[in-house]
């Protein structure tokens, strides 16, 4: 455990946040994001190109000598906070965090460099709900090395040029790279259309093995980093919900008074503030320990996933409720955040799964089923 860890934002992180925020303010209005739910995907490729290329976010986590920006998990976390605050429909988490982490571990620098430059987008092909310790590949390679199998509810696959497929092999898990065109990628109607899922079918698809046996370590590590950093996205969601609800309730009047002046409402918002600030501490700790490869990063990731998942859902649910009827409408963006929050809660291992695994790590084990006291 690292007790010197800095849980505040550095000047570099603050500057990065501002540039991401400026771009999203200009290019990612709530109206455009809501339209994504009606099938208007026009905003997505352009927005991602701006973020990936203009701001250089595609290769944020990739070291400079391997073609990236050489930043750390702390900076990626700040980017995710902003993407959460705007419910931005871009594959940063799936390509620049999770897939890049898998490729970094794999050591395939040629492929990594194209992803880092933003030239190509990648996705790890697992159900988005997969917890880091629960990787169960359903794809197999035949005698000629062609891949067969079906993976459902994959995040980032629709946007991906290259699919990173965990393959069950005799001596463990391998990781294969498959050109998106060689697979059948079917969009599914998703709870969170700002991160639309897809089912991936591989029918004798040609692939390149990028990691031999031991690929499970690469994928699990990548999913763990994803779990550690999605907490910052969840923090961004919670922050938007808190800010928006507070400013709405300051202005909304009923019974001749500002609704935000009623104590029953004030107390709920005060609690939500405390929850959001707590989520910030959890998310910052997960990001900082991931950046330092601190030995406590596994505990930190699970803690952040557990806490921030619940915090974001609570914030979004309070946001909808406290906006009253307006919060239930399609026009008001509150629903974007509720959908993102709920999907993020289930993603990369739900809070119960995270806590169960955490119990093992901190020596608070689950007793065997059927045991009674």
């Amino acid at each position: 455990m690292n007790d010197d860890v800095n849980l505040l934002y550095t000047d570099v992180e603050t500057a990065l946040r501002e540039s991401v925020s400026d771009l999203l303010t200009a290019r990612c209005s709530p109206e455009k994001v809501i339209a994504v739910f009606d099938g208007d995907r026009e905003i997505q490729p352009k927005l991602w190109r701006s973020l990936a290329l203009d701001l250089g976010l595609a290769g944020l986590l990739v070291p400079e000598e391997r073609g990236g920006a050489g930043a750390s998990a702390r900076e990626a976390a700040v980017v995710l906070e902003e993407l959460g605050r705007f419910a931005a429909p871009v594959p940063f988490l799936t390509s620049s965090v999770i897939a890049s982490a898998a490729l970094l571990h794999a050591g395939d620098d040629r492929l990594l460099a194209t992803v880092a430059s933003g030239e190509r987008t990648a996705a790890v092909v697992v159900p988005f709900s997969t917890a880091p310790n629960d990787l169960r590949p359903t794809v197999r390679a035949d005698g000629q090395g062609a891949l067969n199998g079906r993976v459902t509810s994959v995040a980032g696959a629709l946007e991906a040029d290259v699919l990173l497929v965990p393959v069950a092999a005799q001596d463990g898990v391998e990781l294969h790279a498959v050109e998106a065109g060689a697979a059948s990628v079917t969009p599914v109607v998703s709870m969170d259309m700002t991160r639309q899922l897809a089912d991936v079918d591989l029918d004798a698809a040609p692939g390149t093995r990028v990691v031999e046996a031991g690929g499970d370590t690469a994928v699990r590590g990548a999913l763990e980093l994803g779990a550690a950093l999605i907490a910052s996205e969840q923090l961004g969601v919670a922050q938007w919900c808190l800010d928006t609800t507070v400013s709405y309730l300051r202005e909304r009047t009923q019974f001749g008074r500002s609704v935000g002046g009623f104590q029953a409402i004030k107390h709920r918002l005060a609690d939500l503030y405390v929850t959001t600030e707590s989520a910030r501490a959890a998310a910052r700790y997960a990001a900082a320990t991931a950046a330092d490869e601190d030995s406590d990063r596994h505990v930190a990731a699970l803690m952040a996933k557990s806490y921030c998942s619940e915090a974001a859902v609570r914030a979004a649910e309070e946001c909808v409720q406290l906006h009253g009827g307006i919060g239930m409408t399609w026009e008001h963006p509150a629903h974007l955040y509720l959908k993102r929050a709920k999907a993020d809660q289930i993603a990369l291992g739900n809070p119960q799964a995270a806590r169960r695994q955490l119990g093992e790590l901190v020596d608070l084990p689950m007793p065997p089923a059927g045991s009674t006291a």
């Binding site: 007790d3 849980l7 505040l8 300051r250 918002l269 707590s278 803690m303 119960q352 806590r355």
Partner: protein, 397 residues
């Protein structure tokens, strides 16, 4: 060397010098602590000459580590918590040079214990309603009234006291803040027995107690401003303590789960780990808040830490009793005692459960703290205040 390294090297040198002239193995504890204070190593964030070196607060941790490694005595912050956490920062911020020189050193070394004479039977959450009167008589104030919920009053040498000095103006404007001598013949301390069975708190009766005007802190009529500084420090002190993982209520439960497998039930696991996560996140939030405040003064954010701390200790101690099952039905001892210090750790789970009920009341109720966060952090409209513009003496009560 970076600035950071230079500061640490300098501190190391100062600590070594202290240890050379005062070998902890052979030096009396009080002599050592006084020397530590005089060397500026008591609280490095205080000014030079007042036990500090004017450095950022965070450096004290390093000093404490060096001293602990050398086997130096500590000043038992639990015993002198009110002095350290509340009186000292208030004296530093509002005291005269003479007051600072007189009070801070024996406060820090623990020679003089402090208590806090704020709450009254009729002024708890509405602290600005205090009715204890201080009337000027030349260079002295004559004080009459009753205070309540005063921890450590029976051990205390000094008290910080909030009293009404002008009943003819609205309540916030008519208070002043004093340092009260607990040995004055007009001060009577009576134990107040609580739901735990013990009397950790006291009632304090002030009958013609005399306080020299030189022991007033801050301007006459500005007691509310001074008291607010104390309260913000208090909330940070109550809410943000645990430096290490599991050094809080959750440690007891985690320990029971680890060492007593017969208590483990699958249906309790998620609640256990949930509380573990919350306790750890609360600890990190406190750490984050301290990092944020390292340079500045405590703000209303500290109220959030205290809210979390109160809720969590109550949830965890309630869970602990349930986890213990049959054992949770028992209670160690209802005999009335007067403990020297509030010690959650030295007692059984039943005591912890009952004592934790006070956490959401003392130092500001959770309801008042929510108002503070809503109004001062989130800038939501203030509660209606019917007594705002009325002279204190005319407020119906």
């Amino acid at each position: 060397m970076t600035t950071e390294e230079t500061v640490r090297a300098d501190l190391k040198e100062r600590v070594d010098a202290l240890l050379t002239t005062h070998d902890p193995a052979t030096t009396d504890q009080l002599v050592f602590l006084r020397a530590q204070f005089d060397a500026g190593l008591a609280w490095v964030h205080f000014p030079e000459g007042l036990g500090g070196l004017g450095l950022p607060r965070a450096h004290q941790t390093y000093v404490n580590e060096l001293l602990a490694a050398a086997g130096a005595p500590d000043n038992d912050p639990r015993r002198i918590g009110i002095g350290l956490g509340m009186a000292a920062p208030t004296i530093l911020a509002f005291g005269t040079d003479e007051q600072k020189r007189r009070f801070l050193r024996p406060l820090w070394t623990g020679e003089e214990v402090w208590c806090q004479l704020f709450s009254e039977p009729g002024a708890g959450s509405d602290l600005a309603a205090v009715g204890t009167r201080a009337v000027r008589d030349g260079d002295t104030w004559v004080v009459n009234g009753q205070k309540v919920w005063t921890s450590s009053a029976h051990k205390a040498r000094w008290a910080i006291l909030l009293a009404r000095t002008d009943p003819d103006v609205p309540k916030h404007a008519g208070m002043s803040y004093f340092i009260c001598d607990m040995t004055d013949p007009g001060v009577e301390v009576r134990p107040l027995r609580q739901i735990t069975g013990e009397a950790e708190f006291n009632e304090v009766f002030l009958s013609d107690a005399r306080i020299p005007d030189a022991h007033r802190l801050g301007e006459e009529g500005e007691g509310w401003k001074v008291a607010n500084a104390t309260l913000m420090n208090e909330r940070v002190a109550i809410g943000g303590n645990a430096a290490q993982r599991e050094v809080s209520m959750i440690g007891f439960v985690a320990n029971a789960w680890r060492t007593r497998p017969e208590l483990r039930r699958p249906e309790a696991h998620d609640q256990l780990t949930s509380l573990w996560v919350e306790a750890e996140v609360a600890r990190l939030s406190g750490k984050r808040l301290r990092q944020k405040l390292a340079a500045g003064e405590p703000g209303p954010e500290g109220s959030g830490m205290k809210l979390t701390f109160a809720r969590l200790t109550q949830q965890i101690t309630g869970f602990e009793l349930q986890l213990l099952g049959e054992e949770g039905l028992r209670y160690a001892d209802w005999t009335m005692t007067r403990p020297d210090i509030v010690d959650f750790t030295g007692r059984d789970a039943g005591y912890r459960y009952l004592r934790a009920k006070g956490n959401s009341i003392e130092g500001g109720t959770s309801e008042i703290l929510r108002n503070i966060i809503a109004e001062r952090v989130l800038k939501l409209p203030a509660e209606p205040r019917a007594d705002k513009d009325i002279a204190w003496k005319d407020i119906p009560r």
